[in-house]
Amino acid sequence: MIRRVAVVGVGQTYHEGAKNTQSYYDVVFEAATRALEDAALEKGDIDTVIASGWDVADGRTLSDMYLVPAGAGYLKDSAKAAEDGVLAFAYACMRVLSGAFDTVMVVAHGHTEHPAELVSNVVFDPFFFRPMGASTVTTLALQACAYAHKCGVTSEQAAGVVVKNRRNALDNPYAHLRSAVSVQDVVRSPPVAWPLRALDCPPRSVGAVALILTTEERVRRIRPDGVAWVRGIGWAVDSYELGAADLSRLSSLAAAAERAYSMAGVKKPLEELDVAEVHDITSYHELMAYEALGWAKPGGGARLLEEGLASRGGKLPINPSGGVLSTNLHAGSGLLRVAEAVLQVTGRAGDHQVDGARTALAHGTSAAAGPAAVGNCVVVLGRD
């Protein structure tokens, strides 16, 4: 990286199942205010704002008219990435790297105002996929089935991811679901779209997350210690044609990881990473992510989990925050992974802190329609 980018402020709300007291952009205002407080900055210090999310999900065409002002963007240069906030983060990095802006606010949110499967069904083409009821959960289920079949992964093994992440959320006061579950709870939960059962899938949470990025020069004035540096970032999209893909692997995630590792100079991720926050859009997808991220061979994801590597005390703790399976901000879940990774490397993750974490990986997924043309982004963050 020619110019260095640092994350200097993090703000999130206490995520919950419903928040009838606030509109979704008021929740964004709360997170943005907290991020400013965290960075000891004011609205006037923000040069540009990148918002995120999907208009149809928000029930508001031009949803950024509401989101940007809530992110301290009034009369500023702003944009909206119609993606998960993790890609708004990527755009924000580019704006800083260009030298045109010093300090960028990125905001993302989740709410429960829309019928999720119907909204994702309308992403599919009206001729071939939509009439089949294709939606996020049904197509993620097709992937889980393909993966399970190819690699012999059982529902109990996938349930292990849920058990780990839900247990981790007990130590995260911001998480939505904060109750442990057992493997039996998961495999007995009602089937949604087989092989996905209710507990294999994320909840729907209401909340927001905001990050403030800035340059090396400004960091010295704002916050000389305790920032997280963006060492590498990569993102990639998959094809729309699900029928032409190997549904058992996450190819865009592998491509994104390769770019991020290369930029960060990471050659042996399992050795060099201290903690990771991955986008567990379902339990199976966390296992698939281990493989795409180069931590396990194809089919080896379950073993990595069973050997304890991904646990809090393991070699590479994965999702100490509780992951998406504990808090799902829909178009904000990916950005929340980045926020959690920042908290880890700056030693501010409280009860779910991984001791001595210096290098973290954050993986976010921007899925408007499940795996169809899904976007994956990987960020490597470091203390120095």
């Binding site: 002002p69 993606e83 083409d125 990639a236």
Partner: protein
Amino acid sequence: MPKRVAIVGVGLTRCSSWRRDVSYPELVYEAVSAALQDAEIGPEAVDAVVFGSMDPFDGVNAPERWCVDACASAGALNKPLLKISTGGTTGGSAALGGYYHVASGMFDVVLVVCSQRVGETLDAQRVLNTAVDPVYERGFGVGAITVGAIQAASHMHRYGTTEEDLARVAVQNHDNSANNPYAHLRFKFTVEDALASRVLSWPLHLSDCCPSSDGACAVIFASEEKAPKLAKQPAWVRAAGQITDNYFMGDRPWAEDWDSLAILARRIYRLAKIDNPRREIDVAELYQAFSIQQILEYEALGFCEKGEGAKLVREGVTAMGGELPVCPSGGVLCTNPIGASGLIRVAEAALQVMGKADLRQVPNVKTALAHAWGATIGFHTLMVLDREAP
């Protein structure tokens, strides 16, 4: 000092009220193929993609998913792709996105694609109504035409602009679109014809309003290292930016003075070191969904004093052959695939600088300005393109 970035290729599609000959990905493929051909590169040469559209005009949420592979095989090749959506400014915002991808130093060749299929919507105003807050305002049936009408009525009241002045803007754009094979509306008429056309929302006549169009546009941005190899005359980005006003229409004087555009223009002119825009800009592609907006834009962009916008039209300053031709393409008034319209302004401005605008070419263009507006009149984008690198 950001890295220098230039536009090296442009692809346009024929726009019409309904391109029923193509599916959505096919329409996008048309624009992308044309841009790749213009820059003489293949899909593998594209490092990253930015896609813009205004959902949900097309009846497909997030159309960049269905169309991902029409964008130079982005999905099949696992390229980086970013979707940008900011209403009417989507095209301008997507162009900015492409610019920042390259200016960051991370990518050398970036494809920006925008598309819209307003023809697939049976009731565009109903879609536009969904931009309006459901708690306070949606019930009032407010859409874009009503907003444009309020702008016209206010300007007429405050500055004495007349319906004839609006008609002159319409006539000028239609005269120009006759030279543009990609334009949607391509018929000329007189001021009398315009005034005789039916009133949609007083004081706007049919002639004062943009059509609903299907169309796509693709623009290729390249780094300073690659640009000279890809284009004989690249169109260098001299300055570019966006401004975000708040949502509440009642808060501001937009009907008489497009103050948010004026603020953005000052910022951009300062960056580009432009002191006298009327003299230093050779051609401008402005975004006028309604004729009155072109007049407001002249004033906000500093081409004339406040209230004098209509005078520029009356005196022929902005006609082809005038001091500062505006919209040789025919503008949004003749072609409006909403999410793509802002990028088409950038594409047309680039073609002018590159000397490839065929029959609509203004002679000796060094500096061109592209504009877009969107939201409840609160978003604007501007991009200054130049024959020389900054």
